[in-house]
């Protein structure tokens, strides 16, 4: 009557073991989220680890009880386990499993709240470099208001220094994500969102979008080059000199629905991004005035012009 393999419920563990094996033997640096190179990613990783440990405990407890129950109380001839058909509750046990999970959750909840607040602002006393990010239909436009250069689908940042990204979109929504540095944030039309990240190690990282935005979405990868501050300044100087300026015509070109390669520009027209200095006037319908002080962006709702 019963198929043979059914006798061994442990079979369920095989895929799990397989997965664990993969994780341990796997492929080093390719688990980007586990090897962040900046403080933001590191804090996020710490929380992931904490949560994973807590969840490990939960899973362990549940699985132990569960497997014990299904093995011990099988309906097979000669099973000597006590049969108590009317046992329908136990006050203490039930209090236990209202309280214990609550305790465990408190343990992860407190650092969650702390880190959420901590990640909201660039740490005090550090002067970030600002980069304005616009997601366009299937390409990324990066503008450096401090350096007055612009780039498409490539990003150069100095190491050891917080970078404050101001995100907006002249396209459907996307998320701006550099997994090696830390978490993502949406780019939305009519709205500017701040996100700060920092790279501590020089290197080239992958950036991509996490929010689907059309057929070219899968091509929205970009490269992030983290270089030493000196090299960064050199790069800026070189770009200023060698690259061509971005005109409004070029910007209109970028607005087309297509994918493109990388590009550098020695300057860019003022109102392509709701620039920090000028306030925010995207596509004719300002929602917020953006005021920047040292570490933060303040938003002022803009009444009708």
């Amino acid at each position: 009557m019963r198929p043979a393999f059914f006798k061994r419920p442990y079979r369920k563990l095989v895929p799990l073991a397989l997965a664990a094996g993969l994780l341990s033997t796997g492929c080093g640096q390719q688990y980007v989220l586990l090897h962040p190179v900046g403080p933001v990613g590191q804090q996020e990783l710490h929380l992931m680890e904490l949560a994973a440990i807590a969840m490990g405990i939960v899973i362990l407890v549940v699985f132990t009880l569960y497997f014990y129950a299904i093995i011990r109380f099988r309906d097979k001839p000669g099973n000597t386990a006590p049969y108590r058909p009317d046992w329908h509750g136990s006050k203490w046990l039930e209090i236990l499993w209202w309280v214990l999970p609550a305790v465990l959750l408190t343990v992860i909840a407190i650092p969650t709240v702390k880190t959420t607040y901590a990640l909201d602002h660039v740490p005090k006393g550090k002067d970030p470099i600002v980069i304005d990010v616009t997601s366009l239909t299937w390409k990324w436009l990066f503008e450096y208001p401090g350096q007055h250069v612009a780039a498409v689908n490539q990003l150069v940042i100095p190491t050891g220094k917080p970078v404050l990204f101001e995100l907006t979109a002249d396209s459907p929504m996307n998320t701006f994500w550099i997994p090696a540095l830390g978490g993502m944030e949406y780019t939305m039309p009519n709205r500017v969102l701040p996100l700060w990240l920092q790279a501590n190690k020089p290197g080239t990282y992958i950036g991509l979008s996490g929010q689907y935005s059309g057929t070219g979405f899968a091509k929205m990868f970009f490269h992030v080059k983290a270089v030493s501050p000196a090299a960064f300044n050199a790069w800026v100087a070189k770009t200023r000199k060698t690259a061509s300026p971005m005109t409004m015509a070029v910007y209109d070109q970028l607005l087309k629905h297509n994918t493109t390669g990388q590009a550098l520009y020695s300057s860019y027209p003022k109102d392509t991004f709701p620039t920090v200095a000028n306030g925010f006037t995207l596509t004719g319908s300002g929602m917020y005035m953006v005021m920047r002080d040292k570490n933060d962006i303040t938003y002022m709702p803009m009444q009708n012009p």
């Binding site: 997965a19 939960v58 108590r84 909201d120 997994p179």
Partner: protein, 659 residues
């Protein structure tokens, strides 16, 4: 007029629906349709179809129709899933072009959630709720039929999109402004919005119907704390539907108006606010995921008690926890857009409220385990699905809690970690639960059991395939793979894990094939259920013969205990002891009506007309809707009487009458 013809061809059959695979499907559908029409004509079944099914208001038949549609939709959604996995197996393949991949994941998600899981749940509601509470039908039988037909025509509207005009391609969440005309000019998104609005109206009506049924139609003596857990689950789910669907309807309607009538709610320009859509969508969307799982919590509670041959552990707290989940689920929706910069206060608040839900959910898990504790567990297929559910759902729930950790979600949002999370809870919780319920109540619905041996093969293929498919996806998430990528470059280390995942999906597909075989085989040769109580059940539906007579209960029972039927059996009573000929009176039953079917069809016409902006067609449909409403407003002749003698004869022939 040749220009007219070219216009038609270009609108109805643009290049996006002229792929060879779709043309092949078209051909298949045409052949199938001709075959079906031919068969019905040859065997003179049209009248039968119309009288017995299309116009029925009997909840048991509506349940069967829901079940059939759900399984068909599981097939469609499953094929979509297989196509997704085929595409993703290798880096940089072009099995499908980007546009088609986008359509496929959109239809996969939408169909699985709205047109597979929801109707499957309603199939179970319809099949057993009136029987469990000792009622002759649901509160509003005609509304029930309307719900079904609105759902069915919504589903048809959604499904024809892939052969006529092109499918929606903005994901099941359909975030604007990508759904706006500037980026998405085809009819696809119109289909999406209209189909969901139509099906959503049906769902809302089902919610009202079952809420009222469970509060007003219970047999005498069945107080709240004597209701079986599945009835509680139904009540709570219905309430959730009531409170969740309105924001969805509003969000969909506003998106539709942006597209059809040039309003500017979510547009790029003129101050549109796409985030408001996201806000409204998840105001619905988060309660929706509990709508998808709470009914199955009810199913599991019934199944585990029956097959452990033991009372459900901690019943009062099971009720409390299910209510707690309901209340909490309205306060967590922002966890789907932590990364939209709503500020640390908002994010922290919603992170914590999300974590809180883990507590009542955990209570249920532990109570199920302790229901088995000290019982005698019978490993039937229904029980196997329940047993597979616990570990699967706990792991899925645990990864959900990780996503609720706000900073972790900044990294994990919209990655394959998320995909793995929700397939873990949705397949582990919803799909396993649905299949468990299907195997459990099949004898009651069809009068025969599903073959257990075949069922077990299907189960193991499904279960093992599931783990092979989705475990690697957690790892893919950690490797930074985001969702909805139609292809990915080599060199990021995403390849091997994707191959494993695809293999797993094939195994699940094989499981589905066995399942279908199981159903068909059992319909032909399955073991008849003559007792009406094949599992030694505990609740009232098992006190009836299988399949259940049209009027359900010859006499409405009086309930004394929580597990009334079990208690009666313990006391040595059966129905035959209870029922004397003079207890049987005339029975009032709802009368069949074509209005629900016609109403659904009219809405379909409206939807189709609006999709292509062919206003005359839409207006004709609207007139149909109005006619249906008027007709039912003036129709006072909505029930008929079943003579007591007929009932007595039926009961006697089933051996359930004294003397």
């Amino acid at each position: 007029m040749p220009s007219f013809v070219t216009y038609l061809i270009h609108t109805l059959f643009p290049p996006t629906v002229r792929y060879p695979d779709i043309l092949l499907i078209d051909a298949g559908l045409i052949v199938g349709a001709i075959g079906l029409v031919g068969f019905l004509t040859k065997t003179h079944r049209w009248g039968w179809l119309w009288r017995e099914w299309l116009t029925t208001v009997d909840h048991k038949k509506i349940a069967v129709m829901y079940l059939i549609s759900a399984i068909v939709m599981l097939f469609r959604g499953g094929i979509d899933a297989e196509m997704l996995r085929a595409q993703l197996a290798m880096p940089s393949v072009h099995f499908m072009p980007a546009i088609q991949y986008d359509e496929v994941f959109t239809t996969h998600g939408t169909i699985m959630i709205f047109f597979m899981a929801m109707p499957f749940i309603f199939a179970l509601f319809n099949a057993v709720i009136p029987l469990m509470i000792g009622a002759r039908d649901v509160a509003f039988p005609r509304v029930n039929a309307m719900s079904f037909w609105l759902f069915a025509f919504g589903a048809i509207l959604f499904n024809i999109s892939f052969i006529i005009g092109g499918s929606p391609d903005a994901g099941w969440t359909a975030y604007p402004p990508y759904t706006g005309l500037a980026f998405n000019p085809g009819p696809g998104e119109n289909y999406y919005f209209l189909a969901l609005i139509i099906a959503g109206m049906g769902t809302t009506m089902t919610g009202i119907n079952f809420l009222v049924t469970t509060i007003r139609m219970r047999a005498p003596g069945m107080t709240l704390m004597k209701m079986p857990m599945f009835v509680w689950a139904t009540m709570v789910t219905s309430a959730l539907i009531l409170f969740a669907f309105p924001p969805l309807t509003v969000a969909l309607a506003m998106s539709l108006f942006d597209r059809l009538f040039g309003s500017s709610f979510f547009t790029l320009t003129r101050g549109g606010m796409p985030m408001m859509y996201v806000n409204l969508f998840w105001l619905f969307g988060h309660p929706e995921v509990y709508i998808l799982v709470i009914p199955l919590f009810g199913v599991f509670s019934e199944v585990v008690a029956t097959f452990s041959r033991k009372a459900l552990f901690g019943y009062p707290l099971m009720v409390v926890s299910i209510l707690a989940i309901m209340f909490l689920s309205y306060g967590t929706w922002v966890h789907h857009f932590f990364t939209m910069g709503a500020g640390p206060g908002v994010n922290a608040f919603f992170g914590l409220s999300t974590m809180l839900i883990a507590i009542p959910t955990g209570v249920k898990i532990f109570n199920w385990i302790f229901t088995m504790w000290g019982g005698r567990i019978k490993m039937t297929v229904a029980m196997l699905y329940q047993m597979a559910f616990i570990p699967t759902f706990v792991i899925g729930g645990a990864s959900g809690v990780m996503l609720a950790v706000v900073p972790a979600d900044y990294q994990l949002h919209n990655t394959y970690f998320l995909i793995a999370h929700f397939h873990n809870v949705i397949i582990g919780g919803t799909l396993f639960g649905l299949l468990s319920g299907m195997y459990y109540w099949w004898p009651k619905m069809f009068g025969m059991k599903l073959n257990e041996r075949q069922g077990k093969v299907a189960f193991w293929l499904f279960f093992i395939g599931f783990w092979i498919t989705f475990t690697p996806q957690y790892l893919l998430g950690l490797k930074g793979m985001t969702r909805r990528l139609y292809t990915y470059p080599a060199g990021l280390g995403w390849h091997e894990l994707n191959v494993i995942s695809t293999v797993g999906a094939w195994i699940m597909g094989a499981g589905f094939v066995v399942l279908v075989y199981n159903v068909v085989w059992s319909l032909l040769y399955g073991e008849r259920d003559v007792t009406g109580d094949p599992w030694d059940g505990r609740t009232l539906e098992w006190s009836l013969p299988s399949p259940v007579p049209e009027y359900n209960f010859a006499r409405i029972p009086v309930v004394h205990e929580r597990d009334e039927w079990w208690a009666m059996k313990q006391k040595g009573q059966t129905m035959a002891h209870a029922l004397r000929p003079e207890d049987v009176h005339d029975i009032e039953l709802p009368k069949n009506t074509p209005v629900p079917f016609l109403l659904g069809a009219s809405f379909f016409v409206v939807g189709f007309g609006m999709t292509f902006k062919w206003w005359p067609i839409a207006i004709v449909g609207m007139l149909g809707v109005i006619a249906c409403l008027l007709y039912s407003g003036f129709d006072y002749d909505d029930h008929h009487h079943l003579e007591a003698d007929v009932v007595r004869q039926t009961e006697a022939s089933l051996g359930r009458l004294q003397g």
